[in-house]
Subunit: 343 residues, 2 copies
Amino acid sequence: MSEEKRTEIGALGEFGLIDKLSEGVKIYHDTTVKGIGDDAAVYDAGDHFVLLSSDMLLEGVHFDLSYIPLQHLGYKAVSVNVSDIAAMNGTPKQITVSLGLSNRFSVEAVEVLYEGIRAACEDYNVDLVGGDTTTSRSGLVISVTAMGTVEKDKVAYRSGAKESEILCVTGDLGGAYVGLQVLEREKQEFLANPNMQPKLDGYPFVVGKQLRPIARMDVIHEFGALGIVPTSMIDVSDGLASEVFHLCKASGLGAALYEDKIPIDKETYETAAEFGLDPNTCALNGGEDYELLFTITQADFEKVKNHAEIHTIGYMQSADKGKALVTRSGNTIALTAQGWKHF
Amino acid sequence: MSEEKRTEIGALGEFGLIDKLSEGVKIYHDTTVKGIGDDAAVYDAGDHFVLLSSDMLLEGVHFDLSYIPLQHLGYKAVSVNVSDIAAMNGTPKQITVSLGLSNRFSVEAVEVLYEGIRAACEDYNVDLVGGDTTTSRSGLVISVTAMGTVEKDKVAYRSGAKESEILCVTGDLGGAYVGLQVLEREKQEFLANPNMQPKLDGYPFVVGKQLRPIARMDVIHEFGALGIVPTSMIDVSDGLASEVFHLCKASGLGAALYEDKIPIDKETYETAAEFGLDPNTCALNGGEDYELLFTITQADFEKVKNHAEIHTIGYMQSADKGKALVTRSGNTIALTAQGWKHF
């Protein structure tokens, strides 16, 4: 490759690169309701929408086989994709799984990976319908595509939020990031002393959040039961702050978040403290929680205010008011999105 | 990974592994009309079917960046997936592209790759709607999923062939395999003498078949115009013999092929000879032609018999008669499928 100019990908970052690559993309079909730029693409199938989303997990980048059991990895690969369908307020129906396997994998090891994939398919009620299986010269590659459906009047885009609407998040945040710190510490100790047993027992919740995240289809089903259609939604894969930025950008708004409303589990809090990390920073900038961030109208507030798994954490405001974090001490500071750096 | 038993993947092969992994797969939705086991999965969208297919290309396994230009690679990644939709008699509508990029890639290089992807999208009239872009610790990874549609009464499965139906193939075969030999030879000569200019000018057709294959959407559109619905179909990615085996297995039949009817381009023929290869073997067992192999009823024979791009190469017969090749000398021998060994 001889090139006159060379720009490092890191100089643009993942989102900058995606923006640049998306520039020249044309849409030929009017049945493509939504292309690049949301959690899933939207195709008009006539009486309903079909959703399509793909995610790739690469060894050494997204996972480390020295601490993630293959069964959990299979489960996680499905969860990550189901979470994208959930973020459109949709229901997953089919997935394809493409695997690149080095010769270090035995048939038995691949079967264990597939046990996790099948367990996730059962839990999410989704059909494994195909994919590709090939050898890999390097590490393990798992590429999953999820196809789902949603009623046309129920689809939730990133772009639908309106001023004064309420910003909500499911579950709790920061756990997966703190869990990763525990796993990394045990790995380093194991490398220093291979006879050591890993000490993971004290951290079941955060380690579980990291190794075996659950896509929040439970909440999607409850939206149906409660008669709620989120006005905008995104899944929290890159950290809360980064996702708030995405919702704001897509909706042309600003937002205000209350630091003391951000849900953090007790174990996340204590483990973060043990590592000398600020739990709020873990919640705001740690990735891989796979919770849902969404907005609802003020009229829907009554329906969620006592819901154990839905937390109101702020509100949308006009773009000129910016993205603000109201700290525990009552100060209003600019929210910054660190997110996950893939490059 | 501590395992009691270790079976090498190579002992099962790609199709054996897929069969084994497919065993425990359950289908939960009655809208899933076809799962694993065809060129694409089939979902019942109400008044039509939606098709879904994924393929992954890995550096060092499926391509060698020392001779495939990035633009062609982008084009090829799309063609391979569009070909799977074509093989169901469908029309591609959307694709997602997931990329794993090592830091050896500049933004400019990724843009060239995307130029090829966008060119293919334009040629196939398909919308690029999403995907994933991430760093890779090892080589370049390209994972594409194609979503397409087909009218319910027009879908072609591998399993629909009947006894005495006519076996047809599009275009010509063996070119991509012979083209690969040319590229490999030039690579070795370049490695031995880096000042040497590659001599590819004499082989435009076979090198083009290898580097920039075209999915046969032209033939799919003609099927519509001619009023033909193939009774069974598969794309030729692993070599003609291997695909005949797949059609026979899925349809519960045998087949007879006439060696002298297998279409081989003059350049393929001459280049194979130059390499001391039997052109028939290249056509039967060389991979990556991305032509279509299909069956039609005898009643449809008149519609295709003078078509320049459709060749009748044999017929289906009962399973007990086996899979036979009638050689040029008139002998009938058992057809063997060597195919592509991915493991």
